[in-house]
């Protein structure tokens, strides 16, 4: 235990005893020890002068932090519906059998634990797992057998076959962004030539809207931050790509990191920010080394640091923060809380981050793709950028396509492309349902395939999941409801309780005990979640249920066994213990199932 305290103290010192670094301190302490022992938490609280409860509260919030010992090999199966369609559940059972462990438990010798986790962003090369936080792709039975052998042998992760960790970009269609070569610094030079105001004006002309889902006009955000009182402005890159089915930011970070970082620097040029933070989701930590290397090269080239490109007064540098498995941190105010080392609880807005963001300072929070797109605007001008797409949705959009199609991967289209066009390109043979925008998005039925990907028609942060005639829309919705119940931050009652209740109803229907009454209750819960939740997580949690109930109602109705009401549990079975204890089996010792009303 002495050791744990020493390790914790070292982590705190590495982060200069900065309380806002709490999450990073916890991640590093756990990296060294395997979990977060109570003594380590106490030591961290003492050194950071934070209440012990605050430290424990943060440690308990993030899925990838553990306050109890876990297996030496901690294996997490990505549980998005796409992974499941690729057979993840059967593979997990097989691995559990081989390792002699049940899901959620640690094997008797402490060598391994196996569990599920929310979508890890590998939908185009799943089923995917995380082993001690590192992504392993393309799981099949053979790979599961080899992993079981490696775990049994205690082979350190570094000695596992590199092939296991191969993550492909799978770029299938290149447009303005993915198709053009990029010389680091070129966009920055072009923007600096225009001056800070001229650059922001170019951004305004481009009409660029945020690619993270909400679609707010980027130039307005940047202008508001620039004009906000306070000299210590901040640029944050939101790389917490947690929406199930989305992985285009992963590809950008892997293959276009220079554009993303240059986009952050361009935002700094417009707003006058001197500090940049890149919030990388924990699932993508394998990209950390690469991103740090890119930052180092750019610093050496004078593209980051003091006097960027020789311009006095233009100082800007970037730190990378690692998330730890919390979908809600993709919401920008929850992300700011997390950056400050707190639980990822969304803030009440207003005030908006542009005036009161990171540590109360004026902050721009932009999505990875948004930032990468700004380099195009700097190089070609706002008008050229606005020439593609639609008047309200300018430029191109990256789609992460997965599911029942021949060619999963990342596709870049001008906004306004029809869904049927995309389906044809990706080789979807019998598409029946498309879930656009991830779990919180829109369920599109085949009669709507003429609709267009654009903020004014079908908006999306990038996920595009295809389901063919073999799939059950109810099971898709149920998977997403489970996801939201797990990811609810627990702060507000409508979402914390509402998502759990909704999950209970969906499971009741799935187990064949549904009744008409349950559909009425589900619709009531949908309204409650939508109207009473504190943030977008709760209000979008019922979306897949609302949409599938509207468009695929028979998928629900065929599960109903009663037009009135059925208990979710077996009443007669509930008397079994008492029957056994009393040795009774008379008629009064049973409850007739047919008598249910």
């Amino acid at each position: 235990m002495h050791d744990a305290e020493r390790v914790a103290a070292q982590a705190v010192e590495r982060h200069r005893r900065e309380p806002s670094q709490l999450l990073q301190v916890l991640v590093e302490t756990q990296d060294a020890i395997g979990y977060l022992p109570a003594a380590a938490l106490t030591r961290i609280a003492g050194l950071l002068e934070l209440p012990r409860s605050r430290v424990e509260g943060v440690a308990g919030f993030y899925s990838f932090l553990h306050t109890e010992p876990v297996g030496r090999f901690r294996i997490l199966f990505s549980d998005n519906i796409i992974d499941r369609m690729l057979g993840s559940r059967a593979l997990m059972e097989r691995l559990c059998r081989r390792l002699g462990v049940s899901p959620g438990q640690v094997s008797p010798g402490g060598e391994a634990s196996v569990d599920i986790t929310s979508c890890t962003g590998m939908g185009d090369q799943g089923p995917a797992i995380l082993v001690n936080g590192v992504a392993v792709t393309r799981l099949d039975e053979a790979r599961v057998e080899r992993i079981a052998a490696l775990v049994h042998a205690g082979t350190p992760l570094a000695a596992w076959p590199a092939e296991f960790f191969r993550v492909d970009d799978n770029i299938r269609r290149r447009g303005a962004l993915l198709g053009a070569d990029f010389v680091p610094g070129s966009a920055l030079q072009a923007a600096m030539k225009r001056g800070r105001n001229g650059w922001l004006e170019e951004m305004r002309v481009s009409g660029l809207r945020g690619r993270g889902g909400a679609g707010f006009t980027t130039a307005v955000k940047w202008g508001a931050c620039r004009d906000a009182p306070g000299a210590d402005k901040v640029v944050v890159c939101n790389a917490d790509e947690g929406e199930p089915g989305t992985f285009k930011d992963r590809v950008l970070l892997a293959s276009q990191a220079d554009r993303v970082i240059e986009g952050m620097t361009l935002a700094a040029w417009a707003t006058g920010a001197r500090q940049g933070l890149l919030y990388l989701r924990g699932e993508y930590r394998y990209l950390l080394k690469h991103l740090r290397a890119v930052l180092a090269v750019r610093r050496a080239a004078g593209l980051l640091g003091a006097r960027i490109l020789g311009e006095s007064g233009f100082d800007f540098d970037i730190d990378i923060h690692l998330g730890a498995g919390a979908y809600v941190c993709g919401e920008e105010t929850a992300l700011l809380e997390s950056l400050e080392g707190k639980r990822g609880t969304p803030r009440i807005r207003p005030p908006f981050p542009v005036t009161h963001g990171y540590l109360g300072r004026p902050t721009v929070v932009n999505n990875v793709e948004t930032l990468a797109k700004t380099t195009l605007i700097a190089l070609q001008g706002g008008a050229a950028f606005a020439a593609t797409g639609t008047p309200q949705s300018t430029g191109t959009k990256l789609l992460s396509i997965s599911g029942d199609c021949a060619y999963s991967g990342v596709y870049e289209y001008p906004f306004g492309v029809t869904i049927e066009h995309v389906l044809e390109d990706c080789g979807a043979h019998d598409p029946q349902v498309v879930q656009v925008g991830g779990a919180s998005g829109v369920t599109i039925a085949s009669h709507e395939f003429h609709r267009r990907i654009a903020f004014e028609d079908v908006p999306t942060a990038g996920a595009f999941m295809v389901f063919d005639g073999r799939r059950d829309p109810f099971e898709m919705a149920r998977n997403f409801v489970h996801f939201f119940a797990h990811e609810s931050c627990g702060f507000c009652t409508p979402c914390r309780v509402g998502t759990a209740l909704l999950k209970g109803y969906m499971d009741k229907l799935a187990s064949g005990k549904g009744a008409k009454m349950d559909l009425a209750d589900i619709e009531w819960l949908d309204r409650l979640l939508k109207n009473a939740s504190h943030c977008g997580l709760g209000s979008s949690a019922p979306n897949p249920v609302i949409d599938t109930l509207l468009k695929f109602r028979p998928a629900y109705e065929r599960r109903l066994v009663s037009l009135d009401f059925k208990p979710a549990f077996d009443l007669d079975a509930a008397l079994e213990t008492a029957r056994r204890m009393t040795g009774r089996d008379d008629p009064a010792a049973h409850l007739d199932r047919r008598e249910e009303v």
Binding site: M517, P567, F569, L575, T577, R584, A589, E596, V597
Partner: protein, 184 residues
């Protein structure tokens, strides 16, 4: 309004399942308003009437959760006969105090109480067929039958029950104002 047909009196049944009769006591706390209520209401099965079985009713008020087979039978009888079924109080809505046994194994509980307890000799779990068997867990009533309305509180105050009933009888969707809406 004067030439409309006079409404027949509303028929109300009440019962306590796994409860403490506290909600019924609270019902009596309406005091003199009970006389007003009696003008528009007549009681069917209820501890107030000692009628043993429920006939067709307009409103059924249920106190307490569902802990044994008899509770299930009574609850089903109410659901079959009452147009509107109301869960009254914490136990009917959440299981309440009796549900504290839900984190214990029923077999262990019965063993501890009837067999292993200090001072018990030649003990045994009572097996008389007249005694209803216990369910392995205590359930709120909406997990066993369809429930139309819920009045929270432990117990809900006489005012809350009065407000709720007069709304319901008057044809208004019951809506307890904040001072009357509490869960303790």
């Amino acid at each position: 309004m004067s030439d409309s047909i006079p409404m027949p009196r509303v028929r109300v049944a009440t019962t306590s399942l796994a409860g403490c009769f506290g909600c019924h006591m609270s019902f009596l706390d309406m005091d003199e308003r009970l006389l007003d209520l009696a003008k528009v209401v007549e009681f069917d099965r209820s501890p107030l009437t000692d009628i043993k079985h429920c006939g067709p009713c307009d409103i059924g008020l249920i106190e307490g959760g569902v802990c044994n087979a008899e509770n299930v039978h009574v609850l089903r009888e109410f659901r079959r006969n009452c147009k509107t079924l109301v869960a009254v109080g914490a136990c009917a809505i959440n299981g309440g105090l009796p549900a504290q046994r839900n984190h214990l194994d029923l077999g262990d509980c019965l063993q501890q109480v009837y067999v292993k307890r200090d001072g018990v000799e030649d003990g045994g779990v009572p097996d008389d067929p007249e005694l209803p068997l216990l369910l392995d867990r205590v359930h709120p009533i909406h997990e066993v039958v369809r429930v139309d309305y819920f009045i929270p509180g432990c117990p809900p105050s006489g005012d809350a029950i009065w407000t709720f009933l007069t709304d319901l009888i008057g044809g208004r969707t019951p809506r307890l104002p904040h001072p009357l809406l509490h869960f303790d």
